[in-house]
Symmetry: C3
């Protein structure tokens, strides 16, 4: 017996309504044997930047034959394209609004199509407000059931896909100037400084609202309860945290706030 | 190999506790091969009206052999009946409190039983407070595993099942007078006016708290960011929304607030 | 065909981020055919007591060959041990911080190991902050796929595992003095008084903030809407509730508040 294929779902649909359940109904109608995994449905409404960040950090942990369906779609009903792309680390189905632009930053696109073939939709006359159900879920289920990407619609030049322009951190001498790009459920602050930007030297972080520099360490337990700490987070970005506390509340920060990382010569 | 059967769950159990997990444990003990899908567990506590609305709008998107277990059960432990019904669009298991009355509004009942046969319960001595675990989950799992509805208990006359009396919209000349029946996660206002009530004419909506009429249009992108719009929502009801905003917050409305729809002659 | 094995997940990771989704990615990479069930991911951050309580009340409803992975891990990155234990009612994988100490209170440990064998981890160089992904999810998936517990690491003496010392209720004459140990989604107050502590007599409860004694009854429907009631809850503990209301809000109580139960002679 073949192992079930994985289909993941990410959206801003929340968990109060039946939107996600209905997408799973459409998927089960096409292939009830798929292994459907929720990445999250708590993306803030219409926040493509948060959706891009979460999907970018998640897909690589799934089997390479997984299909990822991501729907944060403020322009639903307009002429924005619906797309699917293939990579060596999975296939992706989404509106063409930059949501997938974090994925192809790290993983080259092997092929891309516009979802123009209604045969693979839930209905040839989709609603104007819920393409998650009427197009994306159905296309994802067909893709995860063995339909070739090329069959789903007309080929696209990957260079025409919408990019989200995300601020990058900058190295200036022994400093790296970046910003908070995400705040997680624990209140940990994820910067846009990748671990790869650090060299072998020690480092520390400065936040505008914190007079003392925050030491860059490798483990939470090296500091006392309630102390500030900077670590390489599990997604590979520099993160700021309060040991067993909530850094968002502690510093009252928001996404976009600047951070300054200093590299310190080791002796 | 047969495809896995789908069993859906809807409740007011929330996601903070283990109530839903424990129901899935009971289901897995009967048949670990079922495809269990959560519709939602965020129904407001004991809100049968919201449960009825959500289930009514969800079931038709699932395979016709799916079993839907719905538990919002303020009278648990009393003499209220536990029931199962069969329709051409799936079987349903629930307390007899009106929760299923939105389903049979659209889909005739083929047969109905009272769940009086303890052989198909989790335990012959169910708790007084958690029939979701002790009766409904177990019965649903047996039904989805091939047990005949008739085996689950004594036959019921469908006309004796509890109805929820839900206010209907009324057509008065060129006006349709209705009300807000649901507000979703995005803050969109779902009225009780079905798309079928509109004829080919143009239409607009009036809300008590909004001086300007709200145009009835087909697509969000026809209006500017932050503008009010009325659309046929994905469930087939007239909905009011703020383009990329939150209509509940914008108008500070609650469920039950009246809306007035005007049909406008086309020229 | 063998029935799929169940693997449950319990954590404080919430549902806003991709932490849980990524654990499921790791699991699917090892065995996409497992039946993965969420117990809850809404444990308050780093609250081992709440995690212990929920897991203790859930596992017995699952098939005895289920594997339960529980991750509330404030000491992640320190020298705290990662463990797996086998019982007659399932295997458990968790940090050694007392999270499992409610399980072995009721179910003897058959064998215990420290998770010292990196072959069964997601990566031999785990992150310092996310062992849920890098160790626990992977080990759980291997265990649920047939790997023997003994292969996962070095054997442990169960008496060396960390216990959480939880206040026990005390019987003093015809009184039982206990405390609120958990408050659920409905606002029901779960005490630390087990049903087994009650004998055949009638009983009533006193709360510091409620002048009138609260009658111990068997069914919610025996009291009127909004009335206070004490029942044996579905987990087997004495619970305080407001019929179709929210007891936490009604009495403004917190976890740890004392309760006094009086046994009353029947005549």
């Amino acid at each position: 017996m073949t192992a079930p294929r994985v289909l993941t779902l990410l959206s801003d649909f929340g968990d109060r309504d039946i939107y996600v359940g209905v997408m799973k109904g459409v998927i089960a109608g096409i292939n009830p044997g798929l292994n459907v995994v929720d990445l999250t449905h708590q993306i803030p409404p219409q926040d493509i930047v948060a959706a891009r960040f979460n999907l970018m950090n998640a897909y690589a942990f799934f089997p390479p034959n997984a299909v990822h369906v991501a729907v944060v779609d403020p322009e639903v009903g307009s002429q924005r394209r619906a797309i699917a792309i293939a990579t060596a680390h999975g296939c992706f189905v989404a509106p063409d609004n930059g949501l997938l632009s974090g994925v192809w930053l790290h993983t080259p696109i092997l092929s891309a199509v516009a979802l123009t073939h209604p045969h693979f939709w839930y209905t040839p006359t989709p609603s104007q407000t819920f393409h998650g159900r009427d197009i994306f879920a159905a296309v994802g289920a067909h893709l995860a059931s063995g339909v070739d990407l090329e069959q789903l619609g007309s080929p696209l030049d990957p260079t025409t896909l919408i990019q989200l322009e995300i601020p990058q951190c900058q190295r200036i001498g022994t400093k790296i100037v970046g910003a908070i790009q995400y705040i997680d459920h624990f209140g940990n602050l994820v910067t846009n400084i990748p671990a790869a930007a650090l060299d072998e030297r020690d480092w520390q972080i400065r936040l505008p609202s914190e007079p003392a520099p925050i030491p860059g360490l490798s483990r939470y337990h090296q500091v006392s309860l309630g102390a500030a700490i900077a670590v390489i987070g599990s997604h590979g970005w520099v993160e700021l945290a309060i040991n067993q506390g909530n850094a968002r509340q502690h510093w009252n920060v928001i996404i976009g706030m600047p951070v300054e990382l200093e590299l310190i010569a080791s002796f």
